[in-house]
Amino acid sequence: MDANKAEQLKAELQQWFNQAELLIRRIPPNQLYAAVGIVLLTVFLFVLVRVFKRTISNTVVLTGLSGSGKTILFYQLRDGSSHQGTVTSMEPNESIFVLHSETSKKGKIKPVHVVDVPGHSRLRSKLDEFLPQAAGVVFVVDALEFLPNSRAASEYLYDILTKASVVKKKIPLLILCNKVDKVTAHTKEFIRKQLEKEIDKLRASRTALSAADITNEFTLGVPGETFAFSQCRNKVTVAEASGLTGDISQLEQFIREHVKP
């Protein structure tokens, strides 16, 4: 029985094979080669584009607590002025542009894709959409009203530093102390030390909880030592800026460092 069936199948297959051969023979060879060539070319281009997209990213994400000045910085980067002021953002601002200070430079300059994610706690989830493609993250801190918000700021910073996408890809992070044009603003050294202290405390209480509680996928720092930003796997630096007056040179330096012109 089985042998019969197998033979029958074989015979059928042979028939189909012969028919297919006949059909193919009918098509002129040039067309055939052209069709195959086109298919191979598209596949090749596709693969190329995919590979390239992954390696080069020109996205910089601006994040921080609500009221720290991200939207003003965004517009300073883009237009060089803060226009008529801003209110609490309800949606992210993103656009691809050449930094305003560099528009006067000669030559071809690569545009930067800057995203300003709202800082309001209910809109935090928008950050996860942009983080995977980021070449650099800027965490904006209000240097004027730092102490009342230090706990919220350090919690947010801790959450960002322990996200899988940031740790695995070692995305560099810049802590930008904004509003330094005001006299009573804190210095960047003070802010750095305070943040390190707060994150140290957070480390202790968060590792006491188990994984299900919070979406911290990695732990920070070295257990047993007090936390310092130098212990992070991704590079963390601190800088100062003033959104209102337009003094954003350190921010632009950071962007240029990590998004190659």
Binding site: G67, T86, M90, H120, R151, A208, A211
Partner: protein, 602 residues
């Protein structure tokens, strides 16, 4: 006279403000509007009231969803400007014509605005004159929203100064955002009701005082001898709560320690139901009425391929109605479902439908986003972190459990204690339910099983004093957390709410946790709003403590009718910190926002 009119993008950049109305706004009304109204999905409300020291503004707004613009008008609350809505609509129309995403300065709009304002004012004058001639009463209706607020303000002041019960009757005063219907009948009938209430209150008070005295006396006669209030189990021959002997006690203790991990610490396994999205849409289609079914399907298919010009309210209507019904079958309070649908409609009106998307799926996506936004906590709900912070300041972290009768306060207090204990926190219980028989014994049993100290003073004591002494005791013996159990009380019960407000005011706890059961339906709205209102009004201090968090109980008794969580969070703005899902110590977990939203929209 308008104070200010602003146009800004949803991303936060101010595009245009009126230069003529040069007065700077005191305080930050726009930011407050965005944070407490627009981002809280209350954008369907008619107006928003902002109070800053020295000023009282009312804000009205409108959206242009397609271009992502917001138009806000600010004016003094005492002026009842009728032309603001008209003006906003006209401004929206004119501005959308000259709007360009690249431009950020629109100085030519000044002239247009001046013209529009004159037109709007003129039209309002005409309408006013016409109304004054016809019906003097209806004019009152138009100004009702303003009057309602004034009355609320006046009543609040009275309550603060006299400490009396005047403001009790104020049902339509829904906090800050004005609803569209403001019962004008309240204004007329107010005085009569007030008098009656005062008379009734006077009678009630004397009644309770009279009742208290004989109760205490009878108790004294019968059981005074047998009361023993210290914790030692040795001399409890007459203690009927423990029929088992001391051996039995030890057995219970060993069992309690071994109940395993609290469910707070376990990860929830969410079944992925992404394939069922297709089914959802089909169900929604079936939900529409039979007559419009054929036409609806065909036109929606056509529209989905061609892409419609702009979404109108009429188009959103059927999809929103179906969505509202679905929410209500999931036990969301009717009022909340209505407000949510209005807010989603406001955010979708005028938006362009992309091609290959149906209206129902756009509405669904918008609703889902809105629900996730509401249920995501506004502030950190990391209690352990707060406890550590308090520990450093050497004060105990005080949590007060409040709620109506029978929701599970004492049971869930024990569960929270168990969880905290598992994380090496020293917990102490305070039995401030001095009213219900057996409440103190119940807590004592829990304390014995969990081996944590309990502070109790028996029955018929003032709960505020008991709580204060408990906190002092905790500071002395180094407890990190004090969990205060209070008696259940109905939200309408004036004297009990006052007692609760006094307890909170005297002890200023770190966390006021409202315990609500998931089985509750429309009453959730009433419970929470009244609790918050009473805590606000009856507190003698200027900045009263309101409900900080919600503990949702009996979650295992509802299958997928999880709407109570949404109602409670929406009406109070407080996050859900714990969910009680059973009757043993380990049945306490955190609210999983994504799974709740999925269940609600299933």
């Amino acid at each position: 006279m308008l104070e200010q009119l602003l146009i800004f993008t949803r991303g936060g950049l101010i595009l245009w403000t009126c230069k003529e109305l040069g007065n700077a706004l005191r305080g930050s009304p726009i930011d407050t509007l965005i944070r407490s109204c627009l981002l809280e999905e209350r954008s369907g409300a008619a107006s928003f009231n902002y109070d800053a020291p020295g000023t009282a503004y009312t804000l009205k707004w409108t959206f242009h969803n397609e271009l992502g613009l917001v138009f806000v008008a600010v004016y003094q609350r005492i002026l009842h400007l009728l032309y603001v809505d008209d003006l906003l609509a006209m401004v929206k129309r004119e501005f959308s014509e000259i709007y360009d995403p690249k431009k950020t300065v629109y100085s030519d709009f000044d002239d247009i605005f001046r013209q529009l304002r004159k037109e709007a004012e003129a039209r309002a004058e005409e309408i006013k004159k016409a109304k004054q001639v016809d019906k003097p009463v209806s004019n009152n209706m138009g100004n009702d929203s303003g009057d309602g607020d004034d009355n609320v303000k006046v009543r609040k002041l009275e309550a603060h100064s006299k400490g009396s019960f005047v403001a009790n009757r104020n049902a339509p005063a829904k906090g800050i955002a004005n609803g569209k219907e403001n019962g004008s009948s309240n204004n007329g009938a107010f005085d009569v009701n007030k008098l009656q209430k005062l008379r009734a209150k006077g009678g009630k008070k004397t009644d309770t005082i009279v009742n208290k005295v004989p109760k205490v006396e009878t108790k004294k006669k019968i059981t005074k001898k047998n009361r023993v209030w210290d914790d030692s189990p040795k001399e409890s021959k007459l203690d009927f709560t423990d029929p088992v002997s001391e051996n039995g006690d030890e057995n219970i203790q060993i069992v309690a320690a071994d109940e395993g991990e609290s469910m707070m610490d376990k990860e929830e396994i969410i079944s992925s139901e992404s394939e069922s999205e297709e089914d959802e849409d089909e169900e929604a289609e079936k939900g529409t009425k039979v007559e419009t079914k054929k036409k609806g399907w065909f036109s929606s298919m056509f529209q989905s391929i061609a892409g419609k010009a702009n979404l109108e309210k009429a188009d959103l209507e059927p999809a929103l109605r179906a969505l509202k019904d679905r929410l209500m079958t999931k036990n969301v309070a009717e009022e909340i479902a209505e407000k949510l649908c209005e807010s989603v409609a406001a955010s979708l009106e005028g938006k362009k439908l992309g091609s290959f998307t149906r209206i129902s799926s756009t509405v669904q996506a918008a609703m889902e986003e809105a629900l996730v936004r509401i249920l995501t906590p506004r502030r950190s709900i990391d209690i352990l972190r707060d406890v550590h912070a308090s520990k450093e300041q050497r004060k105990p972290y005080v949590v007060v459990f409040v709620g109506v009768n029978g929701v599970g306060k004492s049971t869930n207090l024990a569960k929270v204690a168990y969880w905290l204990q598992q994380h090496d926190v020293n917990v102490m219980m305070a039995a401030c339910d001095t009213f219900r028989s057996g409440a103190v014994e119940q807590l004592r049993t829990h304390a014995r099983r969990l081996q944590i100290p309990i502070f109790e003073k028996g029955y018929e004591k003032d709960p505020a004093i008991v709580a204060k002494e408990a906190i002092q005791e905790a500071t002395r013996n180094g407890s990190d957390v004090v969990l205060v159990d209070t008696a259940g009380r109905m939200q309408d019960n004036e004297p009990l709410m006052r007692a609760l407000s006094k307890l909170i005011h005297v002890n200023s706890p770190d966390l006021v946790l409202f315990v609500g059961e998931a089985l509750v339906g429309n009453d959730a709205v009433d419970q929470l709003s009244k609790f918050n209102q009473k805590l606000g009004e009856l507190s003698p201090s200027a900045s009263p403590r309101l409900i900080d968090g919600i503990l949702l109980t009996k979650f295992d008794t509802i299958d997928d009718k999880v709407g109570a969580a949404l109602s409670m969070v929406y009406i109070s703005g407080a996050p859900v910190m714990f969910v009680g899902c059973g009757q043993s110590y380990t049945d306490l977990k955190k609210l999983n926002v994504k799974s709740i939203v999925k269940t609600l929209l299933k």
